[in-house]
Amino acid sequence: MNDTVKPLPRWIDVGLIPIINVSIALLVSGLVILAVGENPIEATKVMITGAFGYDEGVGYTLYYATNFVFTGLAVAIAFHAGLFNIGGEGQAYIGGLGVGLAMLLLDASMPAVLLVPIAILSAALFGGLYAAVPAYLQAYRGSHIVITTIMFNFIASAIMVYLMVNVLINPGQQSPESREFSDAAQLPFMHEIFGWFGVTIAHSPLNLSIVWALICCVLVWVFIWRTKWGYEIRTVGFNETAASYAGIKPARVIMLSMCISGGLAGFVGLNEILGVQHRLLLNFTAGYGFTGIAVSLMGRNHPFGIVLASVLFGALYQGGAELAFEIPTITREMVVAIQGFVILFSGALAYMITPWMTWLYNRLSRSAVTPVEAEG
């Protein structure tokens, strides 16, 4: 029995190794900062202060995090079904279009109580339907979802440019933006809400969407782990043979999970269009869909992990802006690079250190003399 290798305990597998992977990613990012002749420790301090050091910074951090929760959940729910949805960016874009169209159409005739649920519904509907096409092609025509969702990102971008430049542009205006929505078609900012209760906080784009984001986290958790549909999605993701044994139809599961995924991504439109911009414009998704991949990988596809990872990336985005201001040598794109490193080390190389850890763990536990025989 001496030469058998003990498997890693759960706390190392799902706790320690992901933390080490993210640390490697951050370490490499530190090296990049070193390479441009700046002090990584100094930079980290600036970022942390920028992200959490004062009210406004915290507001911005959470505003960014709101987007990442949506896109992170979107990637995660597809992952649970064994699918890789790279199309979050396009689905978010089209989701925002849905919000914008609904508001432009209805904002004069309805009160906020009705407009907000309509906005939520149309974000989900547009994002979900936009994801349904690649899902259908994967489930029933066998075309690979990774490639189709990439293509759909570009198609979404073209649709938006066309609509904004030619159709939805506010007449008599140069930049391709729609008219501003009425006051009823705007989500209140958090500083406004706090103001109603007599609490003064700094102005920031943080708005009511963050509450919806947290509600979505709970709903996704309940859906994935507490309903028969979530159960079937996970079964297909883990083992398609067992799924067909259990009478589950994989094609249907692909459709269901991708529609939900696209709907969640579409909620970025809620935060950006209804919450911050109050009009339809170009490029409001700003790569948040891709950040969702990093967030989901880092959060291990669990809503709780996704919230933590979202806050981390929100802090990176906000701190990165601050960093670019304080140390002009380092631009905001540093955050994008860090995101890439996280995807590399937490995603593609997620198991790189597992053999090392297994070796180390076995060595340490053997020298600690544990005479317990594990027998099944």
Binding site: R226, Y245, A246
Partner: protein, 544 residues
């Protein structure tokens, strides 16, 4: 009696005088050991093979034949042991090293690129020039020579994937010969061949032998061993049990050696109340994606309150039969009637409907199908029943109900450790199997289809599982059991069906069966079935 045979065989085969030790050895394996995790696939295996002979290796599924050959061909490396080729000790750590040592292998699943021409497949890895055209010229002339010498004619410009399997196999043999192999390993070469293709293959092998090539033939078909080999070695449970000269042994002796004889007391209580037929299968045919029949025009019945055991070496259509009976695979021809529901190609059903018909299924492969290894026990306990209203009183899966259910079934079937939150992967094989049985039997099915009920299960659990199956039968359930373990078949079945190459070769009451005859039937070496087999095979070959 049979115990004695296998004991003496072990002694004179391994420790005493080998019948072959005075001749030049092409291959000698000494003390080969190989484990996969906790499974010891090869235990101290010794194998001498005389140069220029055809040497057969026989054994049941999982006896360790394929592992041993993969070690010889460098696909796996042995944990311990030595390999001698033509008297020299060699280290074979890759296929490259094996090829260099003059070993060629025809794998059971061909190692061919379907989109390539025959010529390209043969050259691959052994091209004589950096340019394909130059290599092709040389290869073509060598191959024409080989084709003439051994009767291995294949059109070199044909696209490999479009050729019939027999010709693809010839490509594999040519591949080995082109690499100047002096030792040729064939792993279950006739499994995919028609009888006439088999005859052609044997002609080729004889021609090769005459040219001094040493051939290792791995098979479970004793008839072929008797027909073509010079010597034969028998493996069982990872060990080399015996070596024999083919001329000095018989099918009967080999079958005994292969199957062995475990001590078993007759646990079976005969069925008391056998009811009407509740599963009727008529002229059922299941085709592969290449339209090769996997289940070939079979008919049988299972009555309420009896256990029908399907014996056979695995890969003879049993798995496909189970899949069809549970709605996982469609019926291609023929019909099935279960509980009055008729299933035909035009009226298919699916696993979800099967469950509503009170059909339960314990699949052969619990890791691939029976449970999700990454699920908790309490999640695996509802697999397939996840939509039952009693688990879903509202929108949500009721955790309390599911947890209680898991606790109840774990207690009832003595699943250990008794923890609903344990990961399915972290349970032992026996406990996983008990969990699945608990899930299926608890639904009080009227039909149970069970594959390999005790594969990889510890002794204590085997007895428990057998008891459960017999109890279920006595409640009036119709049980169809597929097993490669003859002991299990003999112990539990009220009736026994033997399957070979997709067909039923025997259907008898248990009292009429004995383990020796069953072993012969499974290897298609039973005399009364020979003629039958030949006729059927020829007719099916003619159709395709």
């Amino acid at each position: 009696m049979s115990d004695m045979i296998s004991d003496t065989a072990t002694q004179d085969g391994l420790a005493g005088e080998s019948p072959t030790n005075h001749l030049a050895l092409a291959i000698e394996l000494k003390n080969i050991n190989k484990s996969f995790g906790a499974v010891r696939a090869n235990k101290n295996v010794n194998l001498p093979v005389v140069a220029g002979t055809i040497h057969g290796i026989v054994g049941e599924n999982g006896a360790g034949k394929s592992t041993l050959m993969s070690i010889l061909y460098g696909f796996y490396e042995a944990d311990r042991g030595e390999v001698f080729i033509a008297g020299n000790k060699v280290r074979i750590d890759s296929s490259k090293a094996a090829i260099k040592a003059g070993i060629g292998m025809v794998h059971q699943h061909f190692m061919l690129v379907d989109t390539f021409t025959v010529l390209e497949n043969i050259m691959l890895g052994a091209e004589s020039s950096p340019l394909i055209s130059n290599s092709a010229i040389e290869a073509t002339s060598i191959l024409e020579h080989l084709a003439d010498n051994y009767g291995l004619h294949v059109r070199l410009s044909a696209i490999t994937g479009t050729l019939p399997v027999g010709e693809q196999q010839r490509v594999e043999i040519l591949k080995a010969l082109y690499r100047r192999a002096r030792i040729l390993i064939l792993d279950e070469p006739t499994g995919v061949l028609t009888p006439s293709e088999t005859d052609q293959l044997f002609e080729v092998l004889k021609a090769l032998k005459n040219e001094g090539v040493t051939i290792l033939l791995i098979t479970h078909k004793l008839r072929e061993i008797m027909a073509i080999t010079d010597c034969v070695s028998v493996m069982r449970h990872g060990e080399m049990i015996a070596h024999r000269k083919t001329s000095e042994t018989s099918k009967e002796e080999l079958a005994e050696l292969m199957v062995g004889r475990k001590v078993f007391d007759s646990l079976n209580r005969p069925a008391e109340k056998i009811g009407p037929a509740s599963v009727v299968v008529e002229n059922l045919t299941v085709l592969s994606s290449q339209n090769v029949p996997l289940v070939d025009n079979i008919s049988f019945q299972v009555r309420a309150g009896e256990i029908v055991g399907i014996a056979g070496v695995s890969g003879n259509g049993q798995s496909e039969l189970l899949d069809v009976l549970n709605g996982i695979r469609p019926v291609d021809q023929g019909r099935i009637v279960i509980n009055g529901r008729e299933i035909t190609p035009d009226h298919p059903f699916d696993p979800a409907e099967a469950r509503t018909l009170k059909i339960a299924h314990v699949p052969e492969d619990r890791h691939r199908m029976g449970l999700v290894t990454k699920f908790d026990a309490r999640e695996s306990i509802i697999l397939g029943y996840q939509r039952l209203t009693r688990y879903n009183p509202g929108m949500l899966l009721d955790q309390q109900v599911v947890n209680d259910e898991c606790n109840r079934l774990m207690a009832l079937f003595d699943v250990r450790p008794h923890q609903p939150e344990i990961k399915s992967a972290n349970m032992s094989g026996g406990n996983q199997q008990k969990l699945i049985l608990a899930r299926e039997i608890d639904k009080a099915p009227t039909e149970l289809f069970v594959g390999q009920p005790t594969r990889g299960v510890d002794i204590g659990a085997i007895e428990f599982i057998h008891e459960q199956l017999l109890d279920l039968r006595d409640t009036g359930c119709a049980i169809l059991m597929v097993s490669v373990e003859l002991d299990e078949i003999m112990q539990l079945s009220d009736r026994i069906i033997v399957m070979f190459e997709g067909r039923i070769v025997a259907d008898m009451a248990r009292e009429e069966a004995d383990i020796k005859t069953l072993g012969l039937m499974m290897a298609n070496a039973h005399d009364t079935t020979d003629a039958d087999h030949g006729a059927q095979a020829t007719s099916s070959a003619g159709e395709s």
